[in-house]
């Protein structure tokens, strides 16, 4: 499992980075989405992989060894929602920039060939 997830994170990151370097705003937005998947998975992986051990404890004394690490999950949970907000902000800024400059190039003007 570890190798699969590591490769998955790698592919998502590489695709995201490639898109991040592209000149069109839409590409950059998609790139950031891919990167945020990769980062969220990476943070989750920092708690090590556990299957069938969700951190829903019983009402008695809980043994931490039986549950997946809840801290990375708490971190990622808010990150998911925040990433929606930042994507929205970026999208709107880029749309506004496109309306003002007439181009969807990230710099607001076409680069020299």
């Amino acid at each position: 499992m570890e190798i699969v997830l590591a490769l998955a994170i790698g592919i998502l990151t590489a695709s995201g980075l490639w898109l991040l370097f592209r000149p069109r705003t839409f590409q950059v937005i998609l790139g950031l989405s891919l990167l945020s998947y990769a980062v969220n998975l990476f943070i989750l992986a920092a708690g090590r992989l556990r299957t069938d051990a969700p951190p829903i404890v019983g009402k008695g004394a809980a043994d931490p060894a039986l549950y997946a690490d809840p801290v990375p999950q708490a971190l990622v949970l808010t990150a998911i929602v925040i990433s929606f907000a930042t994507t929205a902000l970026l999208l709107v800024v880029l749309l506004a920039s496109r309306g003002l400059t007439g181009t969807d190039h990230v710099d607001g003007e076409e680069s020299d060939p």
Binding site: L5, A6, I9, A14, A45, A68, P70, I80, V81, G99
Partner: protein, 971 residues
């Protein structure tokens, strides 16, 4: 009533008054002046009440712990010396307020003036009352800031703006040096507490860092107290209204440097480097200031240079390092403040009543304004050091000290001569001031007919001149005890015996004084008439501080531009590449040292399903990267595949909360991007048909590909190395063990979010709210690109089809087309909402919670919008996202603050079981209330963003009409 807490009131009063004055009507001259006067008076009375305690040799201290581990506590400290300064600040402050009431025109924004003046008064008090070095530096910077605002008060005036900026740059530069010096001092002593620093004199003087600390502190003090070579800002600050000059540039702010020098005198003085630097600087400043003052044609300019020279005198005294000289320095500080403030006020009256400050135009004013003239002449005589006035006494002490042997260097032998020379200059410009302004023939061609100033405008001068006279005639009965208390508090055991008598018999200092008086007057009689012909001071006039300042400033700005040009770029792509390259390098560096290896933990068995899922997602990611430029919709779908697989992985890897949230957010993100697609330009044809692509483009794309692969490979390697090692023991253990017993919930992730780390979540939802409002604001002013304004092709075809048929109205096609889905989707609305509420309520114990519930609820709204269209939804349903956001934030804040009522810190939670009929015992945690706040904020945020974006489509037809402003078409 000498409770130490009163100090806090004295300090807070001016700031509160400043705040109050800021809210007064702009032209509320009397009210603002009354407020400021009351603040000064109350402060004065409170401060005076402390004197009996201080006179008995004790000091008052108030420590309010703040960041004790960093050595930062709010420490207030009052001893005899700082008491004397406080009285100066409050007393002269009060007089200046009265004076300013009459000086300022009712057309000026007077409330603002008094607001700044009181804030300055508070900063100055803060500085002298501080018992902590860092705190002193803080208030020091505040005085610079408010002095900037006060000098630039008439900001329509170019010279006022320039003078203000120059003063700020010079004194703020000094302030930074002072701060660093204080930090070094604190490092040497191990504490920033002034009392502890003062106890560590030998340690400081013997330390290797003594010299750097000394030089930095001296630069700070010298810039503030206008010492050579930093003195040039003071004459330029004369563009300030005269009350400001009287207050800041004679009595208080320029004495701030002197204050620090005296405060630290016991620990810093007495070394050779102190003697050489401080004495030389003081001497040069004394001479240059006095010399330049002679040749000034502007009344305030003369006073400014005279101030520089007197500050130099005080600095020189402190530099000598003998206790007697320190006494003289403290004494002269007080004397100078009284006579110079009154002189500035008199100059202001002359300016006010005649319309000019030019000495060449003024003449014979004594017959027009006899009272002001008498007062100014007495004050000027004090400045010159005429017997029976306070200036004489401290000057006598200065001359006596100049005669003593201090170091055995050449300075000792030339000091008496130079001191006498400076006194001669001082007499010369004082005589010139008196003669040129008040004596001689009546003036001709003045802008106004001169007349006496109003009664209450003269009153402050009368008080100050009276003090000059009283101190000058009966010093032992007036200033004596206060000076003794102040000196005792600074020098402690080293307090020398000194006498404040007027008559010490025929002595050498007296001879020097007489020489100065006779010589100065004689020189004026000989050369006085010619002085009017100078436009700049001979010899030193060529040293233009202002020009140097501007050259240095321009060089710094040019340098910044060069650095910016070399290292900066306007191109986002270049910046991102640099960022990623840096990240990769930083990521690789540690592996170069320790090498890369997989950890000891065995791999868990690969599940084929999981592998297949990720093969699919990996291919989708690559496909999206490949196609994002030309096939946006397809790329979006491919990204969605990655999102769903991520979501499945969360579920697979024991993170049900994440899976749920990811799935929901995936939906709203998709809707968001689809809405955005509408406004993007048509796809451009490839700029370079494959065969003709230039080499640079291949190069660039190849580089990007390599970078992307390096980044992806690197992160995969790190992730693998990390996952094959055991996790260190972190916080998780505590959270899992205490989630139920401490937080009353079994869903640990949710308990962390709303209970253990609720403050983080609180910040998080605040960010969400800010982002939503920003998006909303941006969209209100949104101007779509010209080619996107037209309706999309599909809609145009539908409309054309509807128009062509007589039995159809516009929009019928789309309505009929979506009829069945629409009914289904509308019926889904209550179902989804119920689902959202279910997620919310159960979140504490099972996957769900405020975030997931909030997104779900907003999906319900979005579904409705998609099914029925924006207009028809809004006819039936009013969603007010901004209200949702504010209600949510208020709910979260109130829940947090409720903990205060029970004496717990912000956001402490409480939980108990509630017995309900039928349902039984259900847990009720206050965290649920907080989660409801989170829920409301998320609903509001998501709905606000998506609805605002959706609104653009129905707004655009109006934008097509050129007569209407798109931006004003707010929905």
């Amino acid at each position: 009533m000498t409770d130490a807490r009163l100090l806090l009131i004295i300090l807070a009063l001016p700031f509160l008054g400043s705040l109050g004055a800021a809210f007064l009507p702009t032209r509320g001259r009397n009210r603002a002046a009354l407020l400021a006067g009351a603040v000064a008076l109350v402060g004065l009375v409170l401060a005076a009440g402390f004197y009996p305690v201080l006179a008995s040799g004790r000091a008052v201290r108030l420590v309010i712990p703040w960041l004790s581990t960093l050595g930062l506590d709010l420490t207030l400290r009052l001893n005899g010396f700082s008491w004397l300064f406080s009285i100066l600040i409050l007393g002269i402050g009060g007089l200046v307020v009265l004076y300013a009431r009459y000086y300022l025109s009712s057309d000026d924004p007077v409330s603002r003036f008094f607001a700044f003046l009181m804030a300055f008064m508070g900063s100055m008090l803060g500085m002298v009352l501080s018992g902590n070095l860092i705190q002193i530096a803080f208030f020091w910077e505040m005085t610079s800031l408010f002095s900037f605002l006060l000098i630039g008060y008439w900001h329509h005036n170019q010279s006022a703006r320039d003078g203000a900026r120059m003063a700020l740059v010079v004194t703020a530069f000094g302030g930074v040096c002072l701060l660093v010096g204080f930090v070094l001092l604190g490092h040497i002593v191990g504490s920033y507490d002034v009392d502890r620093v003062l106890d560590a004199g030998d340690l400081i003087r013997g330390h290797a860092l003594y010299l750097p600390a000394l030089i930095l502190i001296l630069i700070g003090a010298f810039t503030k107290s206008a010492q050579f070579p930093f003195h040039f800002w003071l004459p330029h600050a004369m563009a300030a209204p005269t009350p400001v000059s009287a207050y800041l540039h004679s009595a208080t702010m320029v004495k701030a440097g002197i204050y620090v020098l005296i405060l630290l005198w016991p620990v810093l003085a007495g070394t050779e480097s102190w003697y050489l630097i401080v004495t030389t600087t003081g001497l040069v400043t004394l001479l240059i200031g006095a010399w330049a003052a002679i040749f000034q044609q502007d009344l305030k300019g003369l006073l400014a240079y005279s101030t520089i020279s007197h500050l130099g005198l005080i600095t020189l005294l402190l530099g000598l390092g003998s206790p007697l000289a320190a006494v003289a320095a403290i004494f002269h500080t007080v004397n100078h403040a009284t006579f110079k403030a009154s002189l500035f006020m008199a100059a202001g009256i002359i300016d006010h009543e005649t319309g000019t400050r030019d000495l060449r135009k003024l003449s014979g004013l004594a017959r027009f304004m006899p009272i002001t003239a008498t007062l100014a002449m007495v004050a000027a005589a004090a400045m010159a050091g005429v017997p029976l006035l306070n200036g004489f006494l401290s000057k006598e002490m200065f001359l006596a000290e100049a005669l003593e042997t201090h170091s055995g260097t050449v300075l000792d032998s030339i000091l008496p001569v130079l001191a006498t020379l400076a006194s001669v200059f001082s007499v010369l410009y004082s005589v010139r001031f008196i003669h040129q302004t008040f004596l001689g023939p009546p003036p001709v061609e003045l802008p106004h007919e001169p007349r006496e100033a109003p009664r209450w405008m003269r009153f402050p001068i009368e008080i100050l001149v009276l003090i000059c006279l009283l101190v000058g005639i009966i010093p032992a009965l007036t200033i004596g005890p206060f000076l003794a208390t102040a000196v005792q508090s600074v020098l402690g055991g080293r307090t020398p015996t000194y006498s404040l008598a007027i008559w010490h018999g025929f002595s050498l200092p007296l001879l020097m004084s007489v020489t100065a008086l006779v010589g100065g007057t004689g020189l004026y009689l000989l050369f006085g008439a010619r002085l009017n012909g100078f436009s700049q001071s001979p010899i030193i006039g060529h040293f233009k501080g202002r020009r140097t300042f501007e050259i240095v400033l321009a060089a710094i700005i040019d340098g910044a531009r060069v650095v910016h040009r070399i290292s900066g770029t306007k191109r986002l792509q270049v910046q991102l590449r640099l960022l990623v390259v840096t990240a990769i390098i930083v990521g690789v560096l540690p592996f170069l040292n320790v090498g890369y290896s997989r950890g000891p933990r065995p791999d868990t068995l690969v599940d084929p399903g999981f592998a297949i899922l990720w093969m699919l997602a990996g291919a989708s990611a690559i496909g999206a990267a490949w196609q994002a430029k030309f096939h946006r919709l397809a790329a979006l779908v491919l990204i969605g595949v990655c999102g769903l697989v991520t979501c499945l992985s969360f579920a697979w890897l024991s993170a049900p909360d994440l899976a749920l949230t990811q799935l929901l957010v995936e939906i709203v993100t998709l809707v968001l991007l689809l809405l955005g697609l509408r406004w993007l330009p048509k796809r451009l044809p490839d700029r370079w048909p494959e065969a003709h692509m230039p080499f640079t483009v291949y190069f660039r794309r190849g580089g990007d590909l390599l970078l992307a692969l390096a980044g992806g490979g690197g992160i995969a390697a790190i992730a693998y190395a990390m996952m094959t090692r055991d996790a260190p023991h972190g916080l998780s253990r505590y959270f899992v063990e205490h989630a139920y017993s401490g937080g009353g919930g079994t869903n640990v992730v949710n308990v962390i979010l709303v209970d253990f780390r609720a403050f983080d979540t609180y910040g998080e939802i605040t960010v969400l709210a800010i982002v939503a409002l920003t998006v909303f604001t941006l969209l209100r002013r949104f101007r779509p690109a010209a080619e996107s304004i037209e309706l999309p092709e599909q809609q145009r075809q539908q409309n054309a089809f509807d128009d062509a048929r007589e039995d159809r109205d516009r929009g019928d096609t789309v309505r009929h087309y979506l009829l069945v889905p629409r009914v289904l989707m509308e019926w889904l609305f209550p179902v989804i909402l119920t689902c959202a509420l279910y997620f919310l309520v159960r979140g504490h114990d099972l996957p769900g919670g405020g975030f997931a519930a909030g997104v779900t609820a907003s999906i319900a709204i979005i579904v409705l919008y998609m099914a029925s269209g924006t207009r028809s939804v809004e006819m039936r349903l009013t969603v007010q996202p901004v209200q949702w956001i504010s209600a949510g934030l208020l709910c979260a804040t109130a829940t947090g603050m409720a903990a205060w009522l029970f004496g717990y810190p912000f956001l402490s939670t409480h939980f108990r079981y509630l017995d309900l009929p039928i349902i039984g015992a259900i847990p009720m945690a206050s965290a649920l209330l907080f989660d409801i706040g989170v829920f409301a904020v998320v609903v509001g945020t998501t709905a606000l963003i998506l609805v605002a974006l959706a609104h653009q489509s129905i707004r655009s037809p109006r934008a097509a009409k050129p007569s209407q402003d798109v931006g004003e078409g707010a929905d």
